[in-house]
Symmetry: C2
Subunit: 447 residues, 2 copies
């Protein structure tokens, strides 16, 4: 087996145990950063050469931040490491028996495999939705939405027919979780403060923002107080909220709900569900609905040397019988847990099980408006919650440079209410969008 | 004709003369900003909803600036105007006899038509070059180059075969004008200061940066002193400069020069020529090699109410018998000239002919290195020229917000030598690039 270990992917031979990490989200990044450089060779795989700060994706989508501000260049983050190796590639399969992971650039042996591949959008088999709705999981997703949104306002301003204009300005957000709530708030502020200056001849009273949630309240993982406050604040901002609303179909122009109601719209964001991203080669009995079942030490049950963390992991505990919430904190904490304990596990020492420390949940609604559930059933709404949100997010941004950029942008937005990133850098051309095809050059298009 | 005037493109009816401006580059933008709001209805057309600050495109391409920093949102720039109308569309043709311009969104009548559509890349009929080389005229062009460049380093780090690595790291810049010179300098600094930290296992002594120029000196429009200094500085930075080098072909892997020399490279920037972008419907006798012949009042000779400014215009004067240089200043000055004088022209008053005020030429080579030709045959090189360059470019950035962003980025770069924008936000997939196709998701791709 030595030759593979030496040559594959141009990773140097080593006598240290090799840890291969799949995915540079919050889980993978924190694992890599916590593993001791001198004890392990660390190999990190991702399809992108940057870490995406997902909690702020909605700000890129709503033109408050530029894309580069929420992307942390992976190689820069590890300049101080000696035996760390990032490789940009896609993982094709795992051979757990051989302890080999197969990639688009060839196979690589591992001693420990950390699967932190996150979650992908779940359309629950709705093909039309997958074809026409926009997901919001990656930076290109967010840029596609930003382009599509700005294109619609541009098309609307070309149009002298008021009936068509109504149709053009509607936006439907499916899923009342943090993404849906934060997008609804951001779009509502765009509509009130920013867009009327850009498009003085458009009637923004005809721009309806719909937020659809299948359950009976917004922000289901948060407290009932937070749900109620978010609903109240959003409704005050003019968002049309429909609870218990099940989406049946979307043909690119009309969303049809299960109860027969129809909403005309050219733009739908789908954030109503995620599913784990399971790698081929993993025995199906190791997983449940796409998520890898782990013991309380993050080890995939039944495996030899494979760990799963973050959204792709399903660790059933007494406190979290259905697994941990699919947000950044559990992924970060699991990553740190594995990174700090792997040496002890490698040497057969006893390690305490993983314990999730719930720091609380936050969702921002608008300028000076947020909801915060803090530990001990403490709830904050309004301005105080917003300052907590601001502080936490600036703290978490992965590098000083990004903090600086984000702060500069936010300060500007705060004082001017102008969001300067309303740029269609790469137009988005949806299937059959002949108008966009006629205007834009092929080599400048986003998707 | 009234119905067209009223309904077309949703532009309000008016009793004022309507000025239609095609293209929001330096010429079009300055025309629109200089025209008096109360005297004219101003309609501005562009395919993008932003103005591109072209002199800094090479900084986006070389990962020193994020895209949004050099894009000025067109609608924001005209918030204070009452009878200004931006429309995002493509102009299809002009009917000079009818005074109508046809667009992807329908026809529009004009009283005055300002053509400021700029120049496009001229491949001189070389189809292979058009297929494989990257142009550098738009922000998506620059982002495509940035992605392609970073992808090549990622592929090279997967590769254990040193022969292939040589090939992968070469870069060829065709054209020794400002774009070629500034890119060569920026890439050379990336190679020396930034990339070795990101890719500690790559041998950057094998990364050759070639700068090819067909004439016998770099920066042909500048002084001989500037040409010599740029050559000396770039060669000291390790750029391989070939003067009198005519490119014959590029098959995607090998550049072949007319003298038979071959250079292996996966990445070629073509900035060796431009040509005017002539709109269909313009009588061919009005133009010379794609550029519209104008009198000394910027009026297209033979036309009724059509003006041409900037790169698309060819005004032959005693001082500039071949027309003005294809840089920002003539376009800016012509735009201001038309904007300020159109009311007088409209009222039949006598107007002084346009006179180009040459403020000098600048090109930056690297940190603390630039060349500057100032009026009166004054030449500066080195640090002083660089400070002039810095001052001029910050001054010219179209809005305060962008100035702030660019300054924040530059300050960061200056102190850290780290360029934080080395992100492959949207991968670039060149024809036949199977490796990239295997790794990247289709809906995230740039082109």
């Amino acid at each position: 087996m030595e030759p593979i270990r030496q040559l594959a992917l141009n990773i140097p031979a080593t006598t240290k145990p090799r840890v291969v990490i799949v995915g540079a989200g919050f889980g993978g990044l924190n694992t890599a950063q916590s593993l001791p450089d001198e004890k392990f060779q660390v190999v990190l795989f991702d399809k992108h050469n940057y870490h995406t700060f997902q909690p702020l994706l909605y700000q890129v989508a709503s033109a408050a931040l530029q894309a580069d501000a929420i992307a942390g260049p992976l190689r820069s983050l590890f300049h101080n490491r000696k035996d760390f190796h990032f490789r940009m590639l896609r993982v094709l399969s795992v051979e757990p028996g051989m302890k080999v992971v197969n990639t688009t650039a060839g196979p690589l042996e591992y001693d420990y495999l950390i699967i932190s591949s996150g979650a992908k959008t779940n359309y629950f088999g709705n093909e039309n939705m997958q074809k026409y709705a926009l997901p919001l999981k990656t930076i290109p997703n967010a840029l596609n939405f930003r382009s599509q949104l700005m294109q619609l306002f541009e098309w609307a301003s070309l149009n002298a027919n008021p009936d068509i204009e109504d149709h053009l300005l509607n936006i439907v957000l499916v899923g009342g979780g943090p993404t849906g709530v934060e997008m609804a708030g951001a779009l509502s502020e765009l509509r009130k403060k920013v867009l009327p200056k850009d498009y003085p001849r458009l009637d923004f009273s005809k721009m309806n923002i719909y937020l659809l949630e299948g359950l009976d309240r917004l922000l289901p993982p948060m407290s009932a107080k937070a749900s109620a406050r978010a609903k109240k604040d959003l409704e005050k901002m003019g968002v049309i909220i429909k609870l218990g609303a099940m989406v049946q179909d979307y043909d690119g122009e009309t969303v049809t709900l299960k109860d027969g109601e129809q909403i005309k719209t050219y733009i739908v964001i789908w954030s109503a569900g995620v599913t784990g991203e399971l790698t081929p080669g993993i025995p199906p009995e190791w997983a449940e609905r796409g998520r890898l079942l782990t013991d309380t030490h993050c080890k995939v049950i039944g495996s030899n040397g494979i760990f799963a963390i973050g959204d792709v992991a399903l660790m059933k505990t007494e406190d979290y019988p259905k697994g941990h919430p699919g947000v950044a904190q559990p992924a970060i904490q699991m990553g740190k847990y594995i990174g700090k304990n792997l040496d002890a596990i490698h040497n057969g020492r006893t390690v305490k099980p993983f314990k999730y420390f719930d720091k609380g949940s936050l969702a921002t609604i608008g300028r000076g408006k947020a909801v915060a559930d803090l530990p001990g059933n403490i709830f904050f709404g309004g301005r105080l919650a917003w300052f907590i949100w601001l502080f936490v997010h600036v703290q978490f941004l992965v590098s000083f440079r990004n903090k600086l950029l984000v702060l500069a942008n936010w300060t500007w937005n705060l004082f001017t209410f102008d969001k300067g990133n309303r740029l269609i850098i790469r137009p988005y051309i949806r299937k059959g969008d002949e108008r966009a095809k006629a205007v834009f050059a092929e080599n400048e298009v986003g998707s």
